[in-house]
Amino acid sequence: MKEFIEGSHAIAEIIKATKPGVISAYPITPQTHIVEDLAQMVANKELDSQFVNVESEHSAASVVLGGSATGVRVYTATSSQGLFYMQEVVFNIAGMRLPVVMTCANRAISAPINIWNDQQDSISLRDSGWFQIYAEDNQEAVDFHLIAYRLAEDKRVMLPVMVCMDGFILTHGMETVDMPQQDKVNKFLPAYKPLYKLDTANPVSMGLLADPDYYMEARFAIQETMRESIGYLSEISGEFNAVFGRDYKDLLVEEYQTKDAEKVIVAMGSVCGTIKEVVDEQRAKGKKVGLLRIITYRPFPYARVYEALKDVAKVAVLDKAVSLGAYAPIAVEIKAAFYGKKKGPKVVSSFVAGLGGRDITLESVHEVFRRLNAKEVNSDFIDLKPELLKEEYGE
């Protein structure tokens, strides 16, 4: 059923449809509307769930860890500093192979304190063993949560999934969303049946000490699962399409006008909507430009990226995050996808834009295409304000 709805409300509605038994979260902007709605649903008896109000994000993550280990579907959401405060538990949840699903309402990192959107928070946790799936719009944000639970709880996977959606732009944006109906959700996402759980009828120990004889194999197993999951993602999205009538390909990347493109921008999240508009405009003028949208950032779809870009001459990677002192995060992966390969772009330039909520406008995207020439650049910032830098540099 199509509804004109705020992103956060839509997420709360879809989480309600997944029937989590334990929900725990700590307030942080711009995640708050999601869990406020869920709290109200529990208060109204519309949702049978234990909503645990905790004293910190560290405990929110710990509560859902405990709930998941006891064999119950769980949910939490956070942003920015909250995600960082959870970090230790985030790694732990993955190491313990618990199928937790979390929404990250992407927001900039302090300092300076800033509540607006970029993707530095979730990207900083890229090595945690969580799947990271980035939505472009609220329809995807809703759908990806259902796919997230199916993926996480798949017996071949048993790993947590972070659904990332740009803070404010998506969380507080009103869009028309085709909300999945409960009967179809039930069909696609059956009740959670854990592989292992804390149960006095069948005692198990979880979270044991692994000495050097065992630790590496535990990490290797996660690495292997991530590698194999590239295939499961396309399988699960196929099933999703069949039930809900959508057209998600493999949920790894989206190729937009890339087939004969000479210049392609690679990006992730809601900014891709803006880039598509510029691509359409340029195509109308006969320019061969395109967009490659990264949907799944972990595991990173190297093979799909290679196939999509191997014949493109010039590629610009637009990151809404910066790895201070190094190449920008997505740019590193794109370069890695072509290392040692016969084919590939002549130029892979890297641009950083939109940090701390600075608008990435149509003109910003035009600027990226303009600057995409024979000379490669690395981690150049787009839309910097030179007048604000003068003082620091004494110009």
Binding site: V52, G207, L209
Partner: protein, 292 residues
Amino acid sequence: MENSPLFRSGHTACAGCGQAIAARLVIEAAGANTIVVNNTGCLEVFTTKYPDTAWGVPWIHSLFENSAAVASGVEAALIYLGKKNATNVIAQGGDGSTGDIGLQALSGMLERGHDILYVCYDNEAYMNTGVQRSGLTPFNTNTTTSPAGAQSSGNIRPKKPVPEICAAHGIPYVACASVGFPQDLSRKVKKAFSIKGPKYIQIHASCPLGWRHEANQMLPVAKLAVETGLYPLFEYEFGVLAGRKQITPKPVEEYLKTQGRFKHLLNNPEEVKKIQEIADNNIKKYNLKLES
């Protein structure tokens, strides 16, 4: 000791480990229908070296400081599953993970009113990392990070009053127990599980390695801590002092001289006097002295 189905022998604790005995007393008093959530620490390390486990009950370890929060999630899930009334939940950790890094998670668990027993095994330092001081290390203790030297008699602060901090939350039950008094310890665990809501028991558990006494002295050393008034065994119900174990107080020197961690004090009567004052204050505050 006989093998226990709930806490099996063959784990890798040091000889004379007070915590191993205390943990076994706790789980046997709690019974088989119990889920244990453990912080990182000696107990986790010596009972669950993969692929072995000493635990005959469902047991989970996540991190150093979050057993109270993980247990909150376990309890919430049991309520959701309709299994809470048939299942006891224990969160447990050492003094560092409870009173220092995990104090916030513990306070959150108490404040939220979860039906969980939190057990703190208090061996008065960070033992499995090499005897560093914690907030529950006693005044004047020689540890590797509060060393005694020309300008120092050891740890400069008294023990953090974690039982009182817990009691201030107004929770139904707070108790101190000692591995030196096993029947009292078992009674307190059973009493805790007869009460719904959050409970806290802090158990003094001697550590031969960290306290530097012979392994076979575990029980007498633990007993002396109580008998001198340095480790009073009291109970709070809903924030009000409701009971205490009375003693015929012995001088603190008897306790101090049993352990290497206090050896530096024995030729320093001024510093011993300060410790005697701590014991005397406890005796007065909790009315510990047996009427003759």
